[in-house]
């Protein structure tokens, strides 16, 4: 009857609550479907960013005489700061998860907002950087090196932007009480995406900005 179904529901909820964040979903691997899916997706993203990073690496010196290439216009101190900001956003992300695991929703919201803010700051820095580069004569059309630079950083920036939107959505859901600590895993999975985006930047910062020609 309906009663049977309702009982099921509350048993499940109870079980989740007591093992919040550590529930062992009844799947063959012991990992929830969502998490397996996210890791599979991240594996695929390695190939995606790998192609972009390789293209950049191949093209980084391809600049006909007289055209501006990325290495001519880098502002390493500026980019270092924004890279550091993105790196720290990974910290705030794990702190958010940690708080949520302890059922401290308020704290979790604070850290999540901080993460989104740091991410947005990073993006702002990128956009500012691009305007400077364009003013200095390096556009998408300039040469293969510049094209590769913009497409790579553009793809990465888009991923960050999507991440920021996701984080804000999570904050709103927690605020409205629709996302509760039993579902800490949702935050964890969003975190996986966020850390991945950060880790891609770790590679990009080194390969694109720091590695000498």
């Amino acid at each position: 009857m309906a009663a049977v179904a309702v009982e099921h529901g509350s048993e499940e909820v109870e079980h989740q609550a007591e093992a919040s964040g550590h529930a062992h979903p009844p799947t063959n691997t012991g990992i929830s479907n969502d998490k397996v899916a996210m890791w599979a997706f991240l594996g695929s993203e390695c190939l995606l960013f790998g192609a972009l990073i390789s293209t950049f690496f191949l093209y980084r010196s391809r600049a006909p005489l007289g055209t501006v290439k990325p290495h001519d216009v880098y502002d390493i101190p500026f980019t270092s700061v924004s890279s550091f900001i993105l790196l720290m956003s990974s910290l705030t992300m794990v702190l958010a998860l940690s708080a949520f695991n302890r059922a401290d929703s308020r704290r979790a919201m604070v850290w999540l907002s901080a993460t989104a803010l740091l991410g947005a700051t990073f993006l702002g820095g990128q956009i500012y950087e691009f305007t400077v580069f364009i003013r200095e004569g390096m556009t998408m059309k300039t040469n293969p090196a510049s094209s590769a630079f913009y497409v790579l950083t553009g793809f990465h920036g888009t991923h960050v932007g999507i991440g920021v939107l996701m984080l804000l959505a999570l904050v709103i859901l927690i605020r409205k009480g629709r996302l509760t600590p039993e579902r800490a895993e949702t935050i964890e999975i969003a975190g996986l995406y966020w850390h991945f985006v950060d880790v891609v930047w770790v590679v990009v910062f080194t390969v694109v900005y720091l590695l000498p020609l």
């Binding site: 529930a23 397996v36 390695c46 391809r62 101190p77 910290l91 590679v203 720091l210 590695l211």
Partner: protein, 130 residues
Amino acid sequence: MTTTEHGPAGHADAPDAAHDAAHDHPTEKKYWIIALILGVITAFEVALTYLDLGDAVAPMLLMGMVAKFFIVASYFMHLKFDARVTRRLFISGLSLALFCYLGVFMMFRQLGPRSDRQDINLIETGVPQR
């Protein structure tokens, strides 16, 4: 039924449950320390680019990059503590990417001596642009 299988007893029997029962995620303090380490490595890398160490810079930068990658993946993404399958999914994508793209680099001679590279800094474009 599924729910009863997952009482506390069920936890201990499940594979990879041992880690959960024994220790927990890194503590918040540990996270701050990890973040500090990451910051230090970054600072070191940036400093490197201002020093004149010639060819040694590239390998050191790459090592720093690998270290940061590994730290974020293992601790922040919790790969070190999670079940094998997640590690395997990620590492297969990563290794495949490395294998294929390093192969492409080799064919473009990007991994060989500088003189072999077909960079065309010096090309004059006599051909009209579109």
